[in-house]
């Protein structure tokens, strides 16, 4: 896209543009025709499209040549062979389409990734029929999966990796499922437009300044800082709390998971503040913050994140990390 403009039109480029233009028009048409699909969609016959493949075209030409030969020689046995092959072609077409019709396709979630990593959309395909389906494959604009067979009642999860470049929400507007079974003479496919969405966190900056010093080092006494010196009370267990801090006795009594909270001089909680960063560029600041969050999470330190308009008080654990990263990913987005 961002290549240097070439003064002469490239013929291949023109063909590609025409093709992609036609492709866009067709996909817009399909999108309009089908509407947005629910998260679980069963493929109806009307939306499974089919076209011959290259092998299929060669096969067609071959049967046509055989028909001419049979007519020329008036040879009734080669007529039988020719018509058998033509018949198999017709049957293969219907078999190919039926191989997809009735498949149940469900979005099975995805996980946030950092910009530059591949977002892995998981899609479950279930064969709710009495016969096996062969050579089912999922594909999208960026990748395609291996072909898999599905026995009756079987469900398989396909992973569609999508490359990411920038932070924010990543939507996979369209993906498809296709099959070449039985003889690769035809390709049957169905487009799906589900709400496939994942979050792309900012890429962690490579070179980062030292994170801001902890509150203690700055000479503040933090009222809610948690160390491991003095017992300060109990709070509800959060995912990611160390098992060492779980109040097992209290759990035995009440059946509720509680974490022990400590207050002490040796607290190492940090605030990562967007406004404190020297960089001018918003994205660069977000990348630095992301780096700090990831690193801090690894060291099991408490950390807080302060963005213009939002604030996450110091804490730690997977949930906290996710909340922080989500906020960083969606920073400045219209809907956040």
């Amino acid at each position: 896209m961002s290549s240097i403009p070439w003064p002469f039109p490239d013929p291949r480029g023109i063909v590609a543009a025409l093709r992609s233009g036609a492709g866009r028009r067709i996909s817009r048409w399909a999108r309009k025709r089908q509407g947005r699909d629910p998260v679980t969609t069963t493929l109806q016959p009307g939306r499974v499209y089919i076209l011959p493949t290259g092998v299929g075209v060669v096969y067609g030409l071959m049967t046509f040549a055989m028909l001419l030969g049979s007519m020329n020689y008036n040879n009734n046995l080669s007529f039988v062979l020719t018509f058998l092959l033509i018949g198999i072609g017709f049957v293969a077409m219907h078999q190919c389409q039926r191989n997809l019709v009735g498949l149940e396709i469900t979005f099975a979630g995805t996980e946030g990734v950092f910009a530059g990593q591949a977002m892995r959309f998981r899609v479950a395909v279930t064969n709710r029929s009495r016969s096996a389906r062969y050579g089912i494959r999922l594909y999208c604009a960026y990748s395609k999966t291996e072909a898999e067979d599905l026995q009756p009642g079987e469900s398989k999860v396909f992973v569609l990796p999508v490359p990411t470049e920038v932070r924010g929400r990543l939507r996979l507007d369209r993906f498809g499922t296709r099959t070449l079974f039985p003889f690769e003479l035809f390709r049957a496919w169905a487009w799906l437009h589900m709400d496939l969405e994942g979050l792309v966190y900012p890429a962690p900056a490579r070179e980062v300044p030292e994170p801001p010093p902890t509150m203690t080092a700055q000479g503040h006494r933090q009222h809610d800082a948690r160390g491991e010196e003095d017992f300060a009370g109990l709070r509800r267990y959060h995912e990611g709390d160390s098992p060492r801090h779980v109040a097992w006795k209290a759990y035995a009594r009440s059946g509720q998971l509680l974490s022990k909270q400590f207050a002490g001089a040796d607290t190492s909680s940090q605030w990562f503040d967007f406004d404190d960063l020297p960089q001018a560029d918003v994205e660069a600041r977000l990348q630095v913050l992301t780096r700090w969050v990831v690193d801090a999470d690894r060291t099991l330190m408490d950390y807080g994140l302060r963005l213009p308009g939002t604030e996450f008080p110091p804490s730690h654990g997977a949930a906290h990390r996710r909340r922080c990263l989500e906020a960083l990913a969606l920073f400045g987005a219209d809907d956040s």
Binding site: N76, V101, S129, P182
Partner: protein
């Protein structure tokens, strides 16, 4: 661009099947292609398989190029041309063998499978026996199984691939049959390519040199089969007219190239009842057609009658051909013949066969009229010691003289030739007709089998007022040849001396049965041409069938059958039956008015329902217990009954 030549054994799932498909497709060609081609393809296949098995390297490009060059030169040297079925299938086989050596990816094998299909096709162009059809079906099954194996990533499941390929072929079979029946047949080929079967044709030759070849083949091969509409004519009337020889150079009788004659048909005047029949002619690679003497109408397109009332087609009979004809056994031809023609038909080379010429002059002088003279000559053949034998001694120069005065042993050609020469010496126009005489009735099929061993030559004599009149000197010498046919004649004569006995009755019966099946096969399957198709269409109730109607019917039937296949597939992929327990339980869930949560067990749901107090707790427990019993309990049928009863109580 150096291509990677390594193999990783990934083709081991599909390669054996591809090789099997090639083997099936190539096997019927083995008797026809030179042995070195068979050797090459077997060697390449084995080589390729070992390469894959041991993860070796494919041969280098220059090795393959050398091999390719050698093989193509070999084919050129063997066949000296590359058109036609023979060299064509040899080339296909060689291409397959060479392609094997550069097959590296799964997809390369598509080429091999396409080549296999072409090999099967050329096998069918070559031979169309009864077993060719089942063999073809099996070959196609193997090809499509191999096709499925290309896409299959698992070493196991070959049996499933066979089953799938067989199932799809079974779906396609009705389509194929419908298309076969209704696809309009045309009678004229677009272009003529010689079909070389590498087998000498044993039909009649275009010329006749009695004495050159000292024995006549007793080939049992079928020349043609005849089905009569009415009664089968008597043996002595079964003269099957073929080509006519008019010129004699002292040694060899020759005819003319087939040519059309406008007045030939008009020269025939008939009496008596017509005989109509249908002939299924085996390929002769000649233009001549055979018909009962004398044909007056025939159904084959592009067929004409030559000046000597011989039938010929514009293109040679390369295929088994079916045609209808009507003949009259009582007829007169050309009662008036211009002087010029009379001279032409009695022309003999100067000074050849002098003794015969002298004899003829003496006999003509003794006889009162031409007619009497002809009778005298026939009587001479009958009364003097002439012998009918299929293994006559060879004749040197002036063969007619040698035959008439020295050896006096021969078969139809000798007698027809000698008779004609005597008559021509006396100025009587004659011509020799080559064809078949007799034929054996197959009581099972009700048809007449005419074999190559029934080949015959006879004479037509022009007599004033009578026109061309058939006179068979062989009948005068060996009437049993005409009355019984060659088989019996030969067995009676030479055969008996050598202790020949006819085969057992049982064997004879078997042969006849096989022949009857073959006749049906030939007539209705192989000979399903424009005429048969027309008749079949009329039998189906189509008025005035033409190709438009047939194509329309074809399209209609094919669409209907495809819809049937589609319905079949829909049925195949229908959802599995839901078990009665879950149907009943769902009814209960609907009645509670509470939506179950994802992953909620029946017990947890029951607890929530009990808490909500929408239904009686006893009922909830009863239904839940019955449902769990139906799901996991030992006696599920009873539990389902309980569940149904519990729900009925609730209603």
């Amino acid at each position: 661009m150096a291509k990677a030549r390594g193999t990783d054994g990934s083709l081991l799932t599909s390669l054996p099947w591809t090789l099997a498909a090639l083997a099936f497709a190539f096997a019927p060609h083995v008797p026809f292609v030179p042995a070195w081609i068979t050797g090459a393809i077997v060697a390449c296949a084995a080589w390729r398989y070992v390469i894959e098995k041991r993860r070796r390297m494919l041969p280098a490009t220059w090795v393959r190029a050398m091999l390719a060059l050698t093989c193509f030169l070999g084919v050129l040297a063997t066949y000296s041309s590359i058109s036609g079925v023979g060299p064509g299938s040899a080339l296909l086989a060689i291409m397959a063998a060479l392609k094997l050596l550069e097959t590296r990816k799964r997809r390369d094998q598509y080429v091999l499978l396409f080549l296999s299909i072409f090999l099967i096709m050329s096998m069918l162009l070559r031979e169309q026996y009864l077993w060719s059809l089942p063999y073809m079906a099996i070959s196609v099954l193997v090809v499509f199984t191999a096709w499925l194996r290309l896409e299959s990533h698992h070493a196991k499941g070959a049996r499933r691939s066979v089953a799938t390929a067989g199932r799809l072929m079974a779906y396609a079979a009705p389509l194929a049959i419908a298309m076969w029946i209704f696809f309009p047949r045309i009678s004229t080929p677009f272009w003529a390519v010689p079909i070389d079967t590498s087998r000498a044709s044993s039909g009649l030759s275009d010329s006749m040199s009695p004495g050159d070849i000292s024995s006549l083949s007793m080939s049992d091969e079928v020349a043609f089969r005849v089905v009569f509409d009415g009664d089968v004519p008597a043996m002595r009337d079964r003269y099957w007219r073929g080509l006519v020889l008019t010129r004699f150079n002292g040694r060899t009788w020759t005819g003319r190239e087939p040519s059309i004659s406008a007045e030939a048909r008009a020269q025939i005047s008939v009496s008596g009842d017509p005989v109509s029949y249908r002939i299924t002619l085996e390929p002769t690679r000649q233009q001549w057609l055979f018909a009962l003497d004398m044909p007056v109408s025939w159904s084959l397109p592009q067929t004409f009658m030559g000046p000597q009332q011989q039938l010929a087609r514009v293109t040679p009979i390369d295929q088994r051909t079916v045609y209808d004809a009507v003949s009259h056994t009582e007829y007169r031809v050309a009662t008036a013949l211009p002087r010029l023609y009379r001279d032409w038909y009695s022309d003999l080379p100067e000074g050849s066969n002098p003794r015969t010429a002298r004899l003829a002059a003496e006999m003509r002088a003794a006889a009162g009229s031409d007619r009497e003279f002809v009778e005298q000559v026939l009587r001479m053949f009958n009364e003097e010691p002439f012998f009918y034998t299929l293994e006559p001694p060879p004749l040197g120069s002036d063969p007619v003289d040698r035959f008439l005065f020295d050896t006096r042993r021969g078969f139809c050609e000798h007698y027809a030739s000698a008779f004609s020469v005597i008559l021509r010496s006396a100025g009587i126009p004659t011509r020799i007709v080559l064809g078949y005489q007799g034929g054996e009735i197959n009581p099972l099929g009700g048809h007449l089998i005419v074999r190559q061993s029934d080949a015959h030559a006879w004479t037509e004599v022009w007599l004033d007022g009578l026109g061309w009149y058939r006179l068979d000197p062989t009948a005068a010498v060996a009437p049993e040849r005409i009355e019984l046919g060659t088989r019996e004649a030969a067995l009676d004569g030479v055969g008996a001396d050598w202790g020949f006995v006819p085969g057992s009755q049982w064997l004879y019966q078997m042969t006849l049965t096989w022949d009857a099946i073959n006749a049906r096969w030939n007539e209705w399957i192989l000979g399903y041409g424009p005429e048969n198709q027309n008749r079949f269409m009329q039998w189906l109730g189509m008025d005035f069938p033409d190709w438009r109607k047939m194509l329309l019917t074809l399209v209609g039937i094919v669409i209907a059958l495809i819809m049937l296949v589609s319905a079949f597939l829909m049925l195949r992929y229908r959802p599995p039956p839901r078990d009665p327990a879950s149907i009943l339980y769902n009814r209960f869930v609907r009645r509670t008015g509470i939506a179950p949560r994802t992953g909620e067990t029946a017990l947890a749901f029951a607890a929530r329902v009990r808490d909500s107090q929408t239904l009686a707790p006893a009922l909830v427990d009863n239904v839940t217990d019955a449902y769990l019993q139906a799901r996991y309990g030992p006696d599920q049928t009873r539990a389902i009954e309980r569940l149904r009863a519990a729900l009925r109580d609730a209603a």
